[in-house]
Structure formats: C-alpha cells, structure tokens
Symmetry: D2
Subunit: 364 residues, 4 copies
C-alpha cells in the first residue's frame, strides 16, 4: 500500500490496523513555535470516541493519545510530531465468522484482490480506527490555523431526508448527532431508531464552514483549494460525494444568479453573496469556505445479505459486531480535521507565492 | 504557483497562458513501448477545440499539437513526452477593457490577491486553454489504458434541468452538446438558446464511465481511487461538485439498499448491483466506475454586473468577449482525460502492491 | 522541519529525538507478502546498538523494537509498517551544561538559527538515535531485496590513514570496527586509542557493495541510482563525501582506462572491469554496485574548544558526555540500511519502466 | 522513465532528446515578481554552448532559448516558466554505425536493458543536451537567489593531475577551461592536447562556492542541504563523486582540527574556520558553502574498444562523432545551475520553518 501520506508541506502519515497493537500518525513539516499539548489533541480525539451513545459502536476504547516527539517545553520544535494510541478493546474473536467472507459494501473483496492477503479482523486498515491518526494530526493543523485567525466548524447537515434548517452551535452540542438544529436532530433520531429496529443503517451529509481565511490560498491549476478538499473528503471511508458552495444545485442556476458581485466595504473588497463557497479559480476568495460531504449508510448491518466466500462459494452473512448505525456523527470531526490539514498545507504553500514574501523574511 | 504537476507516477506538468506564445504539457513516467502518434493526440484535442458550434466560443484556434520528445519510431521510449500547441488567435485587445476590473465568478481577484501580479489577458493561466495540456496528456494515458483493456466514456448528463434518460453513443455524436439522448439534447439546446437571448449562461453535469477496470486499483487510505478522481475533477475550472456511484442520493438510502451483494458468475466474483460506482474502500471493485461532475454556469456573461476595480472602486462590467454560454460540452473530453490520468497513475502504482508481482518481473 | 520522509515508492518517515519518549519510523509502500518478524529487524538494530565496546558511547539502550502495524501472520500485508523503540537511558542532566552553548561541529547553532527553539538534550533530532528508524526500515528493505536475490554488504574501509587491503568477512566480524582486514583493524584501534588519550576523535570511510542487482535500476535523469545513493549517504550525520566506482580517482584517469569493455560470457553481456561501480548513465549495469562514504571525526571531544553562547558571548566548552570517539563503526549498518532503502525504491519504480511489464501483470 | 522532475517547491521538469525536435524545461513553483528576460537565460546557456573551442564538441548549435510562459511585462507571474530550445544541427547519420552497439562507458546498454527500446541517436535522453533545461532553470533560480543576496560561482578545480593553487575570477575568464589559475590552465591544456593526440580523453574536478547564504537553510534529516547538493551533482552525467568542505580529507583529520570554533564578531556569530564547507547538521551555517564534484573522462573516444552488439556478438568500436575530450569545462555552468536549483528550493522550504514567519506574512 502506498498512499498513507497526505499533504505536501504539512505531511501526515497514518498507520495502524483496527486490531493491531496500536494506531497513530506522524506529522512532518510542522513549523516550530506552535503551543501544543496532549490535551489539545485529546480534545479532538474525544469527539470521535466510540461508545458514547446508542448511535455509535459499543466498542470501548479510552483512546488516550501519547505525543512521542516534536514537542518540547509546550511548543512544537519543528521536528516531526508522532502520536500513539494503543488499541485496548480488540476482541478478534468477534470477527472469526467473517474471516473467509467478503462483506458487501466493505473493502474485504478489494483488499484481498489487491494484496492477496487480508487482515480480516475488524476491517484492518479500512477500519474507522485509521481516522484516529487523521484527527490527531488535524488537532495540530487546527492549532496552527487558529494562530492565524482561521477557524473551522463541521456539523451534521442531514441524516437521511432530515436536514437542518439553521445552524445553532449550542443546539449542536446537545444531541449525539452533532446537528445544529434540535428539531431536525429529533426527527433524525427517530429515523435512525426505526432503521435500527429493522436491522438496517442510514446515511447523511456533513457540512463544514471555515472562517477567517485570507484570499489567495490554494494553487490555481491542479492543487486548487477545492480540489484538495475534495480529495481529502473522498479519502474518508464511506464518503460518496463532495460539493462546494452551491455545488450540484449550481448546475441548474444561471450565470447571473451564480456569480457573486464584488463591492467595496470599509475600504476592502467584499463579495455580496457566496454562491462560490469561498473559492474562485481554486483560490480562497476571502468569504467563508463552505462545503458538504455525502456519507453512505453504514455497510455493516445485522440483516442477512447475499455474498461469496474467498474460496468462491455463494453464501449469506449478517454482521452482528459492534457497529455504528450511522457513520455521520463520528465523521464530523474527521471532516473538520481533514479540512484543517488541507488548509494548513495551503497556508504553508502560499508562503512562497511571491518574491515580496521571501524578501520580507530573508532581507527584512 | 506550485501545483501545475498532477499524478505521482504518470506525472503531467501543464504550462502556458491563454494569451502567451503557446500552451503545452510534459508527461514524465510514461512506460516505454506504447504506440503513439501525433494523430492520436490530435483526435483528443479536436474534441475540445473551440469554434465548433454556436455553443462554444468563436475564438478560432487550429490547436495543432507537436510532440517534441519521448516518441521514437512510433512508440514511447520511456522518456518524457512533451507537447506544444502555439496560441494562434490571441487578440489581447479584446481584454483591455477588463484589465483593471475583477470579473465576478472569475479568478481575477484571487489571482491578484495571491501574486500581486495578473496577466489580465483572457484569464491567463485560469483560461480553459490550460486544459489543452491535460487533454494531450489524457490521450497518452488513454492509449496506455486501452492496451490493458480499460476504456473510458464521458458525456453530458444534464444541462440545467434537462437530464438524459438513457445513454446512446450514436445519439451523443449527433449533437453539439455531447448528450447521449437526442431528445434531452433538443430541450437542452432550447434552454441554452433562451439563456443566450437574455445574455446569460447555464451549467450542467458531466458523467464518466470506465469499463474493464480490474479489481484492486487505488490505494486504501488517502490515495483512494475515488479521492484521486474527486481531486482531478474539482481541479477543472468551474467544477463545483463530484459524486461517485449513488453519491448524494446514497445519503437517503438504507444500508440494505446501498450494499451491493456479491455472487459467483461463471467462476468469478460479480457484484449484483453497482451502487458503489465501482469502488469499495477506495479500490476498484471490478464493476464499471461511474461518477458525475457538476459545472457551474459560465461566469462570463454579457449582462451588466456589479464589481470593483483593482484600485478599489465600485463599477459595473459586461463581458463581451468570445465565450461559451455553457462550459459543459467542452468539459466532456477534459473530464475523460483527467479520469484517464488518474487511472493510468493507479495502474502504475498498483504494480508494486504485492511481492508476487515483483518476483514475476525480476525472477521470472 | 520538513524532510523526515525518504523515498518515492518505499517511503520511510522517521521521527523522534534523542531524549524524548521514543524514536521510530513508519514505512509506507511495502509490498504485501514479504516474510517479516521483529527478530529480523532487531538483528539490524543490534548492529548499531551503543555500549558494545570502548569505541562506542557508553550510553546503555536495549533498543528493543516493537512492530506496531503492517505485519499479520508473519507477512507484510501491504499496509504501513510502524516501528517503536522507547528511549530508556536518557539522562538529560548530562546536557544541562551545554544548554546555552553552541557546540562546535554540531547542529546546535544551525538548529537554533532555523527554528528559534532547540531541544538541547543530546542533540535532539540531530542525534545518532534518529538512525534507529532508518535501520529498522532498512531491515525491511533488505528483506524485500533478498527475496529478489539482491544482497548488501557494508564495512569500514579506513579509519584515519589506516585502510584495508582486502575484504574478508570473517575478519570483519572479529573486530569492533567492522574492518574486513584484521591487520588494518589492529592499526586502526591503536590509532583511535592514541586519539582518545589526547581527548580527541577520528574519522574514516565506509564502503558498501551490492551484489545481484539486475541491469536497468535507477532513472536516467535526476533520479539516477547513484544520485539517490549520494543523497542517502550525505543525509547521514557527519558524512562529508560520496564516491562511486573509481570516484575522485577517475578524474586522473584516461577514458581508455576508465571505460569498462563489454564482452559476451555464457550468452550474457558482462563488463570486463568495473571502474563505473555498477552504474552507467544513472542505471545499474549488472556489475556489483560499489561506493564509499567519508565520515568526519566525531565533533564531541573532551578538549576545550572556543565557542559562543546563544546569548552571544564568547566562551569555551569541553564535551564530557558519553560519545563515540569515532562514528564509523556504528555508521556501517546505517550506510547499508540507507543503500537498501534506495535500492528497494529503485526496484519498485522500475516495475513501471515498460508496457511489457504492465501487460505481464494485468493481462497475463 | 520517471525522475525527470527535480526539486520539491522549485520544481524543474526537463524533457527532450539529443536528436529529437527540441529540448526544454518547465519550472513550477517560481514565486511571482522576479525580474526575468530571455537574455538572462541566454547568458547562462551561452556558457554551456558547444563549439566554442577545440576542447568542446564541434557540433554547432545556436541554442537560442524561447520563454513560452510564466513571464509577463518583464516579471515572473507565479505561473510555470516554460523554455524551448530547438535542436538545429542533429546529423543522425553520424550515429548509424553505433545503432546496434553498446558504447563502453555510456548508457546504451543500461537504457536498452531498462526500456527494451533505445533512441540510439546521440545518446538520446542521456546526451549532454539534456542539461540545457537544467541550465535554463538554473538561470531563474540564480535570479531568485540574487534578489536575496545569494551568489554562486563554479569553476574548474582540476583537470587530470593539474589543480589550481588559487581562485582568480579574471584568470578564469581568459581560458576555455574555466580554471581560475592561468598557470594551471596552461598545464591542463597541454595535458588534454596530449590525450587528444592519443585519441583519448581526460577527467577533472569542478568546485562551487556559494556566498551570502543565511544560516538555517536545509532540513535536518533526509533533506539536508548537502544531501540535496550531492544528489543534484551526481545526477549530472559523468559525475562520480561529491564532497563538501574538507570532504574525504576530513576522514584523516582529528576532531580538534576539523571542528570550526565559533566566536563573536561585530555582534554576530562567526565560524573561525570553514572545514564544514558551510553546512552543519544538514543546515547552512552562515559560512560560504563549498563543494567539489568529480567527473570521469569523456567515454566517447576515437580508439578501438572492445564491446558487444545488442544481438549479443563481440565486436569493437571507435567513436568518431563530435565529442568533448573533457567534460569538465562545459559542466561548470551545469554544476552552478544545479546548485542554484537546490538553494532556491531550500530558500522556499525554509519559509515555513517557524510560526513567526507565518505570522509575519499573514497577520503582519
């Protein structure tokens, strides 16, 4: 497997399998001088911790992070930051009944076809536990960004057909679905409960908004800011779609509706609307960046499904392990973390956009 | 600007501005022994050529490609393949009225904010002419893939609200919109005509299907096949969304509907449905890969729009240059080319997935 | 700090400081199906372990490696292999007297100038302990190579003026300097003893030979095999020079002497001499690869030396910590490991050199 | 072939074969706002132009460079800079006698083994004409560096046994060997003349000195400044060795001799000697950077040499084409250009070393 490294300047390598000894990440390219503690990182990890409500897997993991390098006397030193989280509660026994079966909707079949070998215990590397490394790294990226006044907020936009009608952060913190609309959250919970009662699972949409982004981040051709966000989001397991600004709806609008007019406000250029979602020509345009990610329903369901064994025999399977009936609530912090990685990378890359910046740093 | 290089192994560098001397691309990492001629590449470029109907810009460009290196006696040699296309019809005069104005919906403002300098002539590097390099490189990637039995087809799925109800390749070749449904194409043309009559523009969706992909392409964590496709697609100017398989619709389905059952057919594993769009866990699953890209309406419109000058004064602008009223038809070949680049890269990367492959090549 | 990642396909990330909690490495891009155990890796690490003779630092470290991921049932799975080695004996107290001083010949000054922060304990990231990650990764690379019949051997070629006159592996294993010439080793030991008696240190040269390399590894322009070896070697602390084949001596030879004639032997092409050191035009030529690396004397010496404090005051310093009087013997396994990383990378990259290889894998 | 791209941030892609239509390069990652004209680049190219004395090949090439993109109104715009140089005088006929023969000391055999295809005309991609792209890119890098007060000077240090005893730039410009010591140059010319009279060729050493480098450039682990220089240098055809500072000689020195003492001078830290060659721990230490590159004798000689055909028959060959009897003089500007690429890359990378720099640019 290649492809466990993300980013060009702020480079994150994640490693670890669901039922191995541990999972973790290394971040290379962290500038020196960012205040950072294990608590900062733990706070992020706690947001994705399993076992917090009936809507998340019952697997119990303390998920206590250890920072092994790169921080000295409370600050990053410029050297790689290494994170370690031990896997505590890995009952491999749970998985023995599926060791020779390709679960529908999972990566079992593709993993086996690619490598000829498969760590069948809990999805191995395709497990949601892989995201622990992403979130730990995202915590560092978020600290970096907050030093520059850039703030991210992700939340659940919809579960099945139940979509929020407003964003109220206080409401979001009062439901296990991270929906910033209490009423929509209530309907969504009923919807999940009903699916669960039928041994089924559901999907939904996560939205993320980034505030305080200066204009000009992102590179105008292949490494557009929105292109990198799209990749980051589709790299999350179960993600099936990405849209920025008006997204797919923009395909049904006219140019005169979709274009955001510019006007001067207090001596600075301001867009009067934000159909673009904060990006023009692949670079941030100074407005809020706003995008959405589609997540399919959890593939692990307790219903009988038709499938095959790795020896090529037809069979059926029902997945009775400990699984989330909906991926979305725990994906919220992953979306936010991946967005932070993309933005931190863009912030670093943009440092070399013009000679004036180089002169400012080197010749004062 | 960084970010003019795409791919990890099949690496494409594009260069050139709309109104500079030329545009082009260099492809590093092309395996030796692929049959390739200038005609192969020209056939791709002709599909994106402007001036072919009233729905594309009236700019006249022969866009004749020259292959400057990497091909000897009709085959690739393993060395970089370099393409050159001279810019023939670049009337810079057309752009003098917008040299100090930030066009709404364009990259003028963000370019200026990032670099402090802007080649105002025709969008410079943000022009659709940048895609010439992508398409030339895509032609090489397509040749590579076709040697392995992998075939791509992109087409217009919808223009505004007018969506195809079937895919008929013959019908696609008979309308200037590349819609594989003659009736939808007719409605779409009327829709565009009406928008044009109001000095306005429209958007739409391009769909791409890839057949003959072996299972196991793509890397399971950050470099998922669908993540790389998402990046490739969002890197195309005016793209605002990406979805694979059931995409956003999957968020409203149950797990039991969305999971594709496996079954044995003639001794091989076959998925019975294809909600996944041909990718499971970031790796190709042996089914057709199928994805969609949302394009916003062309931002250049002949209507008066509110904007500002680069000196910070409010003003209005109407864009009277030669512009496509809809980007979608010319984006079709760009989508197909970018998909070919992603797949060629995945095909190369996968060569090292298992030790068996290395032994097969090195120790026979 | 960027630059803690090495390789393009076989990608190693090392992390950790001398006096932090641990050091380690992650290897991404390991093909599935290589037999690998912790013992394989431990055997490599034991070759660089401190405290084994009076010629190496008295620091005691068990340096027991833990493999945290990427291996299942005795084989690599294709997922990242993560290594962890805890730092046991890190007496930070030893370093308090140098915390505000820039040690001559060390990275203290440059680290401080670059980052504005310095982990003064034992050199931090510039410590030789960073090489633990390299050696662990090198063990994996060596396993991969050995599966293809490629074998590496590094040894001490000279200590100060004392150079070997022959290579006898048995003799090498009987002296703490890893010199494959018992007589030269004796003289070298006396030479070191004398320098130690004067509170001084010495340098030397490591040589590495790689056998069984097929022709054609390495890429002909920037990523020449010898260019990548040169980088790998100069990336080792205290390395000051690299030469391949006849190296600097070739500058005083004639073309007619330096060219290696080809001739047929048993139906295959064989070079009759090996002045090239096994590389022509940046690609392996089928002969043994043979190169040398120059190491400067250990900068830490117990003599008084002139220097400055970080507050800009002149002072003197004598380094009384636990240090090797000569770096060379412990560098031997590091040189071999770095060479293995370069070759493993080249072996993977070369899998995509020609279309024939792709057809062999994909279309059988 | 992969590996035609050099650098991480200042990324150069070269392309083109000796006897194809043209050669060139694209540079991605050039900051906006560097003054640049075709004349700046031409001045560099003229230093490597063939046909200037009896010591260089008689091949006549005007080698006029065209800048196709990335420069607008006399300044770089931030977009990729593309260079084109047409191949004028490519008499393929000259090479017909060697089309089926592997020339000793050349890349013919390795190229054929790697790709199964070989452009036999003049070495194809392994020709010295490939360096045109490097030198054009080096001209841009040198402009960038000169804006920051960093200046490079390369020259011939020795030809065969004839070494300079001083560096006088005026003397360097008066002999075709670029030796900054008139007397050594005289002896070197006699030495070459004698080798030529015997149909033979000679080698030599190029030295490069970089002044004005601030402390802290380079990354402390794998991407050490000297490691990247070593790679850059060994990537030049015919290079066989690299050393920095005292290099191989340092292996025979004591630590007390080799360490450079620090002392305060006019309120700043200054090294009192420069055995390190301007780099400590992989980062520039504020002294002049000084390194040497060994070049083997030109492999093309007019003497009979033993070799084989590609069909596996023993034969002999004498190379009567137009070739330099010594590579060194024309390699001087290539060494300087490659060093400029490495330093430009390091200057860009170092922009993100500390949070203070980011705050300076983003929050003023």
């Amino acid at each position: 497997m290649a492809g466990s490294i993300f980013g060009k300047w702020f480079r994150v390598t994640t490693w670890g399998e669901s039922h191995g000894a541990a999972v973790g990440a290394v971040v290379d390219g962290v500038p020196a001088g960012i205040p950072l503690s294990a608590e900062d990182v733990q706070a992020f990890l706690d947001r994705r911790k399993p076992g917090q409500s009936k809507y998340t897997t019952a697997r119990k993991e303390a998920d206590i992070v250890e920072i092994l390098s790169g921080v000295f006397e409370g600050q990053t030193t410029g050297t790689p930051v290494s994170f370690l989280v031990r896997n505590a509660d890995h009952r491999s026994a749970d998985y023995s009944n599926i060791r020779d079966i390709f679960r529908p909707g999972h990566a079992d079949y593709t993993f086996f076809e690619k490598y000829g070998i498969r760590d069948y215990r809990g999805g191995g590397r395709s497990s949601a536990r892989e995201t622990i490394g992403r979130v730990a790294a995202g915590a560092v990226a978020s600290k970096l960004l907050s030093e520059l006044g850039i703030r991210l907020l992700a939340y659940t936009r919809s579960i099945g057909p139940h979509e929020i009608s407003h964003v109220n952060v206080a409401e979001m913190q009062e439901n296990p679905l991270y929906m910033p609309d209490a009423k929509a959250a209530r309907h969504a919970q009923e919807y999940i409960d009903f699916a669960l009662s039928e041994n089924d699972s559901v999907g939904g949409v996560v939205e993320c908004v980034v505030k305080g982004v200066p204009a000009g981040l992102g590179e105008p051709v292949f490494d557009k800011l929105d292109a990198n966000l799209a990749k980051a989001m589709l790299s999350i397991g179960a993600a099936k779609g990405f849209e920025i600004g008006d997204g797919f709806a923009a395909t049904r609008h006219r140019g005169s509706e979709n274009n955001d007019p510019f006007a001067m406000e207090d001596g600075t250029v301001k867009k009067q609307t934000n159909h673009s979602g904060g990006v023009l020509g692949g670079m941030s345009d100074g407005s809020d960046i706003s995008f959405r990610v589609a997540f399919k329903p959890t593939p692990s369901i307790a219903r009988q499904q038709q499938t095959v064994t790795k020896d090529g025999e037809d069979t059926t399977v029902a997945i009775h392990g400990r699984h989330d009936p909906v991926i979305v609530p725990r994906a919220v912090v992953v979306v936010e973390s991946m967005a932070a990685l993309v933005l931190a990378d863009a912030v670093l890359e943009n440092m070399t956009a013009k000679m004036d910046y180089l002169k400012q740093i080197y010749t004062g």
